[in-house]
């Protein structure tokens, strides 16, 4: 099963959850926030990436429990390990905190400097602004939690279920040996933001 993000119940769920917190946001705008989230994280990791050490960011609930994270890591070319341009970068998202081990992790819930990436992304992509940073962070967490729950609920043995947002992300799940395996893969232009410092304009 493959559904576009807009076809799932996620936009409505996020909108409803915000309404429960006395904050309005039409479901129609939720996909825009998803793109801002992915572009903002990608641009941030693209700026802080290092050939020395993997860099990651983590999204957490108020109680500190892990929701999701993203990591960028340099892999040197085995034949010419000193040639930086010969190596390659991996950029992955994960719902499992253990996948970020060994990386310098920036915690989104405590870092007060990284939100500017989302402000810029929102402005460039949609001329959109968050009323407050806290609202933006709450939205990001709700979206990531929503995707994670959707994947849990729709995981089937031997079958891949996925949510796609072309050019932004592909979130999928399956059941292997009775265990749900979930993944988010950045898609298209969003993925290329990691590799170049001036891809933002092309991505938008």
């Amino acid at each position: 099963m493959e559904l576009r993000f807009e076809e799932t119940n996620l936009p409505e769920d996020v909108s409803r959850e915000m309404a429960n917190e006395n904050v309005t946001l039409g479901a129609i705008h939720v996909p825009k926030v998803v793109k801002v989230l992915m572009v903002g994280v990608s641009k941030l990791l693209g700026d802080i990436k290092s050939t020395e050490r993997a860099k990651a960011i983590a999204f957490r609930r108020l109680d500190g429990s892990f929701i999701a994270g993203a990591k960028v890591e340099y892999h040197p070319n085995t034949e010419s390990p000193d040639d930086v341009s010969a190596g390659n970068w991996s950029y992955v998202w994960t719902f499992y905190e253990g996948d970020l081990e060994g990386a310098d992790v920036t915690d989104m819930s405590t870092s007060n400097t990284v939100f500017s990436y989302f402000i810029i992304a929102a402005d460039k992509l949609h001329r959109m602004k968050f009323t407050t940073e806290a609202m933006g962070m709450r939205l990001f967490n709700l979206i990531l939690e929503g995707i994670s729950h959707w994947l849990d609920d729709n995981a089937k043995d031997g079958e891949v279920s996925s949510i796609v947002m072309p050019g932004v992300l592909n979130a999928s799940c399956t059941v292997v040996d009775g265990v749900v395996e979930k993944a988010i893969v950045p898609d298209g232009d969003v993925k290329t933001l990691i590799k170049s410092d001036n891809m933002m304009q092309e991505a938008v």
Partner: protein, 219 residues
């Protein structure tokens, strides 16, 4: 609530607030009487607040409020002049240091409002019907005599403007609504009570006048 600046934008006088003031006090400023200062590519604009909670495409320049996010639709090059802060005649209350300054600022604002109200796009002439009550007929006649664009007075009526305008399609009006409508249109309404004729039993012998739209009463 602080309205430090005001200017005529899109034919209305709007309160101009900066982004932080708007974002931090949305419950105060999220209304159609507000314009928000926005920096777009280094240019400062004052863009009207608009409701963004709809599925309609955002077309007109403005700040579209969609709850915890909002969207800025910049003016096109041909519309730019109307929204550029440097082009607007901004009345800035922050520059009022004493009563004299304040009164001058108020006068400037009244002049701008007068200019707007007398710039007529469409004269409103309500139809007088055979069943109109005397007070409704008088009000309709007064509005017709003003030869004014009723829409230009919308801001004075506030959120209930369309309902109030719709009253002119009816044949009756309450005293309270007559008075509030007249006040919004700079009309004075006077009530006179006198004997029907001198021969009635227990004549008052005097005329009683009351100005219902404010001002002083005299007997």
């Amino acid at each position: 609530m602080e309205f430090a600046k005001r200017a005529a934008i899109e034919g209305r006088i709007l309160d101009i607030v900066n982004h932080d003031m708007y974002a931090n006090n949305k419950e105060l400023y999220a209304n159609t009487s507000t314009a928000i200062e926005v920096d777009i590519d280094g240019k400062q604009y004052a863009l009207p607040y608009r409701n963004g909670q709809t599925n309609q495409k955002y077309v007109d320049p403005g700040v579209y409020d969609a709850g915890c996010v909002y969207f800025v639709v910049p003016p096109s090059p041909s519309q730019e002049r109307e929204y550029l802060l440097e082009n607007l005649n901004v009345i800035d209350y922050q520059n009022t240091n004493n009563l004299s300054d304040f009164l001058n600022t108020q006068k400037q604002l009244r002049n701008i409002e007068e200019e707007l109200l007398t710039d007529i796009d469409d004269i409103f002439c309500p139809t007088i019907g055979p069943n109109d009550t005397a007070e409704m007929k008088a009000l309709k006649q007064a509005v017709a005599a003003k030869q004014c664009d009723f829409n230009k007075y919308a801001q004075r009526f506030g959120d209930n403007y369309l309902n109030d305008k719709r009253l002119f399609k009816g044949s009756t009006i309450t005293m309270r609504k007559l008075v509030s409508t007249a006040e919004n249109l700079d009309l004075a309404v006077e009530l006179t009570i006198r004997d029907k004729n001198p021969d009635v039993p227990n004549p008052m012998g005097v005329e009683i006048h009351a100005i219902l739209t404010g001002g002083s009463d005299d007997e």
